[in-house]
């Protein structure tokens, strides 16, 4: 067994094992940390597939952004040291059954067919190639989706501020919260 195969299976075990722990752990903070390791394992798989740019994006956006956001929201909403309540056994059983049946169906379909790739010369996924095609406006260029996604990010930014900002106007009396800090914006 060569080294690259061993590394692949180690990364796979890291991803799947910590993913499984992330959805079953009853302490929510540990669950977030297991999610972090699962995402790092996925980034390692991207490195193994030699898609270095995607691996870097994965680490920066997921590990550096989303998991930190999730951890901060856990700090804001959970009482520390409190376990999540035990779920009903029937619900756990049926969820496991549904997930296992779906997995079995997909894997049976997967191993029934042999997927054959093209024989054309591969394009190296370097940053120069990615950037040229990402901002290209000719056939196969991704300039329009790029602009649409930037508009989506702007909309999400404004929406987050509007939703999460504490309500300052006392026009709805029953939903007014006592906020100790004065709202300055």
């Amino acid at each position: 067994m060569e080294g690259s195969t061993i590394i692949f299976y180690l990364l796979a075990a890291l991803t799947l094992g910590s993913g499984l722990l992330a959805v079953t752990s009853r302490q929510i903070f540990r669950s977030a940390i297991y999610l972090l390791f699962s995402l790092i394992g996925i980034a390692g798989l991207y490195f193994w597939l030699q898609y270095e740019f995607i691996a870097a994006v994965q680490i920066v956006v997921y590990v550096g952004g989303i998991v930190v956001l999730i951890i901060f929201s856990i700090f804001l909403t959970q009482r520390t040291g409190e376990k999540l309540p035990e779920q009903k056994l029937g619900r756990q059983l049926f969820a496991a059954l549904a997930a296992f049946c779906g997995l079995a169906i997909i894997l049976l379909q997967l191993y029934k067919f042999k997927l054959i790739g093209t024989a054309e010369t591969p394009v190296e996924p370097t940053v120069a190639n990615i950037g040229t095609q990402m901002l290209g406006t000719d056939v196969g260029g991704y300039a329009l989706p790029f602009e649409v996604v930037s508009m989506l990010l702007l909309a999400a930014l404004i929406g987050c501020i509007v939703i999460a900002a504490p309500s300052s106007s006392p026009k709805r009396g029953e939903t007014q919260h006592t906020n100790p800090k004065p709202n300055t914006n």
Partner: protein, 103 residues
Amino acid sequence: MHPGLNEILFISTALFFIGVYGFFTRRNLITMLMSVELILNSVNLNFIGFNKYLWPHKLDGLFFTIFVIAIAAAEAAVAIAIIINLYRSHNSIDVENAEELKY
């Protein structure tokens, strides 16, 4: 045996259904969001595997992965804003307590 496309697809399928299991069993909104992140990651791994082994002369799977990551980031931010707003008004982020989603 050197790992190929089938192994990548096995990992992504297993990760997808781990996420589905978490989404079914969890009743806390943040842990449900974490399950959704696992599902989105499995889809990204699928795109990259197909792009690497079946269509290596194009980069389309890679671009789809980039856009999925961007949309997932926006989705996580909006979901956490909603969760924090819900916690402010209900003092709980359990989905059983969030059945009247009215202001």
